[in-house]
């Protein structure tokens, strides 16, 4: 029983890392532009495929060739990761100009629809290129299960967790300490004033979408060896990342990260009890949390001055 519990905690933390990266991405665009990318999930799944495609190219294999049993060197993996992050980041920039900029700051939430539309187009292109099948992706750190005190952990899960923590700590440092991070926080606080202080607001927003999408790409790349690459898993992963962000409080990046991990843990523990109730419990909880705390558990309450 204890071992099963520990096992659930371990895998919950790993998946939670992916959710946390995604949640952080939501928080970054929300704080700077007050908009969210509702096609984040498509970015995650396309991210997995971009990574795999780079591997195919490096190995000189055709698209959709099986990758099982192939050994990959570290630099190949690193290159694939970097290219994935950059490509998905650039798609994010495209998203900003096509779907977000025309609607940002306007009343109503037209950007909800336009970003969903962008995602549908992105997935359609993905289906045309890669087809609907799932691809099993080998892990860069090997697929042998490590046993710690009877708990089996896949190396990729450890990698996922570690990378998530490192990336988030680095981002936190950038946001708090560097002039770039301060500019982003200034834009988040008040666009007009930031603009008057000489900050290039558009550049900051483009940067925010690049960063947010790059994180989606990274989580897609990291989760592919755990869940295998598929164009259909993105939505559910991103929804949980989104839930994590909402539970933690969109306006608080650290809260979002905690929310992401919490959600991963919760999901994994419910899974222990009843697998098919997993999503129902998770989303019911989201509704409950928001009903009690409308701005998330750690989000700032905005008080409207009358």
């Amino acid at each position: 029983m204890l071992i099963a519990l520990l096992q659930a905690v371990a895998s919950g933390l790993a998946v939670g890392g992916a959710y946390a990266l995604i949640a952080l991405g939501f928080s970054i665009t929300f704080t700077t532009t007050k908009t969210l990318n509702f096609s984040h999930g498509d970015f995650v799944s396309v991210g997995s495929f971009v990574g795999v495609t780079v591997l195919w190219l490096l190995l000189g294999k055709p698209i959709n060739a099986p990758l099982v049993g192939v050994t990959l060197s570290v630099w190949q993996q690193l290159l694939a990761a970097v290219i994935t992050v950059v490509v998905i980041g650039l798609i994010g920039v495209m998203l900003y100009f096509l779907a977000v900029k025309p609607f940002a700051g306007k009343p109503g939430m037209s950007w909800v629809m336009s970003t969903i539309g962008f995602g549908i187009i992105l997935t359609s292109i993905g289906l045309a290129v890669w087809g609907p099948s799932q691809i099993v992706v080998p892990s860069p750190v090997g697929d042998d299960v490590i046993r710690i005190a009877g708990v089996g952990i896949r190396p990729q899960e450890i990698l996922m967790f570690v990378v998530a923590i490192v990336v988030m700590a680095a981002l936190d440092w950038v946001m708090q300490r560097t002039i770039m991070g301060k500019a982003m926080r200034a834009v988040a606080h008040d666009q007009r004033v930031a603009s008057l202080m000489g900050i290039n607001v558009t550049a900051v927003m483009v940067g925010a979408f690049f960063l947010s999408s790059a994180l989606a790409g990274l989580s897609g790349f990291l989760i592919a060896p755990i869940a295998s690459a598929s164009l259909y898993v993105g939505l559910s992963i991103a929804l949980k990342g989104f839930s994590g962000a909402i539970i933690g409080g969109l306006s608080n990046p650290r809260g979002c990260v905690l929310g992401g991990f919490a959600l991963g843990l919760l999901e994994s523990l419910v899974n222990l009890w009843q697998a098919q109730w997993r999503e129902i419990v998770v989303f019911l909880l989201v509704i409950l949390v928001l009903a009690v705390r409308p701005h998330g558990l750690l989000g700032l309450r905005t008080v409207e001055k009358v």
Binding site: S110, V112, M113, S114, I120, S124, L235, I246, F283, A291
Partner: protein
């Protein structure tokens, strides 16, 4: 004239029904049926999205509630199909209340998340709880609607759909063109202002959710009964998006938008059904560029041709009837008593043990340096804030901590320091919203356009027009309030507050941003209002104005009342001079 619209709509519906009978091809009839189904979804959704301004991404959940409700009732409980349809709608309505409840406090993306989560919970529930909902296997043998024991043919279904759509359109038009429509629009524009004119924001939000839920539920039930089969594939996130798209693409906030959306998107859907990839691309493109090209949907493109030229409004002859006021029968009770009221926000105390009393018919001024707690006091009296301690009694009844709309109903009207008009609504609609809490027509009366609703609407119009006359706004009746210059906007807000028929009128810096001439006019206006028997409490910084028109002045400094009395007394008070000019160095 009143029956022109219904006659035209009925004629069009009959035309469509005849067309359906002529076509007779099951495939085309099916498309027609789906148009009706989607119109029903969109018509209700339009109330929620276009009028009340609440985005929902979980409408598939309500569709499912109706569909599974009707399906299970007719298979497991062997209920008559007509009864099952009706009960399905009721079940969906109850689910609408369930989804509305957590949605009351959350806004923007959080609201999107709540509705989205609801949709997913329902989707997972029907696909995973196989014992009850049958999952992907589905439920077979759902009874179709029948007349005299003969089950509906496809043509009957289309006729039924057209009839239902017609009834829905006429009912919603009744509802939305009057008191209820305005109230929905007001909460989209500004919830705090809506409360201040007596609109019960929570109630109207729930109502909007329920209307959207019921129409979606009926649509779901019809789909289940027509197919006589239902499985979990019917319910998906895509359906929720599609229902929202119907409204946004057609034109939200327009009565015809949902119809345009339902007809055109069903057609596109049917035309592209053979090439799923193209269909996906088309949806993506519509979502991505549709709102950019047509911010108000297809209906918005045509609205230019439909908007009537603003009718020239006859300028009123000198002094029509004075605006309505409600005089208190019993002037023996003090109008407003504030006793030992304190308020603290964490460590900040904008009110400490403040006590004062307002007299019937007087003009009272509340003055003090910036940060003295004047607006906080106004907000506590009008119910925007709740006092931390102390008692506020209006005509002897405790009102501290009541909700704004209730306080408005009792006879306290207000304006705001930073204008809170319903910018996109016309001047007349703004003032009519002031009349909201004085109108007596309820939901059913309005929905069915019973004579009482029309009488109330006419009476409210007459009163609103009288107020506009008095304030010299008659020529601007149909102009959007947000397009007016600042000084006039202030005046419209005053007109709106007067329309709530207050006994006590709270004015929060009514002269802020006005030029000297406008300020002088405002002074005259306030005196005029006070002569109608309305007591006034105003927060103001223009000392000329305050000293010339007030009967009684209350001075606050750092949340403490430091003086009160006639203007002359207050002007000589040493503490007041200190607060404003600083103490002399000893």
């Amino acid at each position: 004239m009143r029956f022109l619209h219904p006659i035209i709509v009925v004629a069009i519906s009959i035309g469509a029904a005849i067309l359906a009978a002529v076509i007779g091809n099951d495939y085309y009839l099916r498309i027609g049926f789906m148009m009706c189904v989607y119109y029903l979804c969109a018509a209700g959704m339009n109330v929620l999205v276009g009028y009340a301004g609440q985005k929902s991404l979980g409408q598939a959940g309500l569709f499912a509630a109706g569909a599974y409700g009707a399906a299970l009732l007719s298979t497991s409980f062997d209920l008559n199909a007509w009864v099952a349809l009706a009960v399905g709608a009721v079940i969906a309505g109850i689910c609408g209340v369930l989804i509305a409840w957590p949605s009351l406090r959350v806004k923007g993306p959080y609201l999107a998340m709540v509705t989205l989560a609801f949709g997913i919970v329902v989707e997972k529930l029907v696909s995973e709880w196989i014992e009850v909902f049958g999952g992907a296997q589905g439920i077979y043998g759902i009874k179709p609607l029948s007349l005299g024991g003969v089950p509906f043919t496809m043509l009957h279904w289309v006729w039924f759909g057209i009839a239902l759509g017609l009834v829905t359109h006429l009912l919603l038009r009744n509802l939305l063109s009057g008191r209820y429509g305005r109230a929905f629009l007001s909460l989209q524009a500004d919830e705090i202002a809506a409360e201040s004119v007596g609109v019960r924001v929570y109630r109207y939000k729930i109502l909007a959710f329920v209307i959207a839920a019921v129409t979606c539920g009926v649509a779901g039930a019809m789909v289940a009964q027509q197919n006589q089969y239902l499985n979990s594939d019917f319910i998906s996130f895509q359906l929720s998006i599609f229902i929202l798209l119907l409204v946004l693409f057609g034109g939200s906030g327009s009565l015809y938008g949902p119809l345009i959306g339902a007809v055109s998107l069903t057609l596109i859907d049917a035309l592209l059904a053979r090439w799923p990839p193209v269909q996906h691309f088309a949806y993506g493109g519509l979502l991505l560029f549709g709102l950019y090209a047509m911010p108000n949907g297809v209906a918005g493109l045509f609205s230019r041709f439909f908007t009537k030229k603003a009718r020239p409004v006859p300028v009123a002859q000198k002094q029509s009837s004075p605006p309505p006021t409600r005089r208190d029968e019993n002037r023996s009770r003090p109008l407003l008593e504030v006793s030992s009221v304190s308020k603290n926000f964490g460590g900040v105390r904008p009110a400490t043990d403040v006590t004062f009393r307002l007299q019937h018919g007087h003009v009272h001024a509340l003055i003090g340096p910036n940060g003295a707690g004047k607006s906080t006091m106004i907000n506590m009296i009008s119910g925007v804030l709740t006092p931390s301690s102390g008692r506020i009694a209006f005509l002897g009844d405790e009102i501290g901590g009541l909700e704004s709309h209730g306080i408005c109903r009792r006879g306290v009207g207000r304006t705001f320091q930073n204008l809170r008009l319903f910018a996109s609504l016309s001047v007349l609609e703004n003032v009519l919203l002031g009349q909201h809490c004085r109108m007596k027509n309820g939901f059913w009366t309005s929905l069915l356009a019973l004579p009482q609703a029309r009488r109330e609407e006419a009476a409210a119009n007459a009163r609103a027009t009288a107020i506009l006359d008095t304030l010299g706004l008659r020529e601007l009746t149909h102009v959007p309030a947000g397009s007016l210059p600042y000084g006039l906007q202030r005046r419209v807000e005053l007109a709106r507050a007067l329309a709530t028929e207050p006994q006590l009128l709270l004015l929060d810096e009514p002269a802020a941003g006005l030029n000297p001439q406008e300020t002088a006019e405002l002074g005259k206006l306030i005196v005029q209002i006070s002569k109608l028997g309305i007591t006034i409490l105003m927060v103001e910084h223009h000392m000329d104005l305050v000293m010339s028109i007030s009967d009684h002045v209350i001075v606050l400094d750092y949340g403490i009342k430091i003086a009160e009395g006639t203007p002359g007394v207050v002007q000589c008070d040493k503490r007041v001079i200190e607060a404003y000019l600083g103490a002399e160095a000893a």
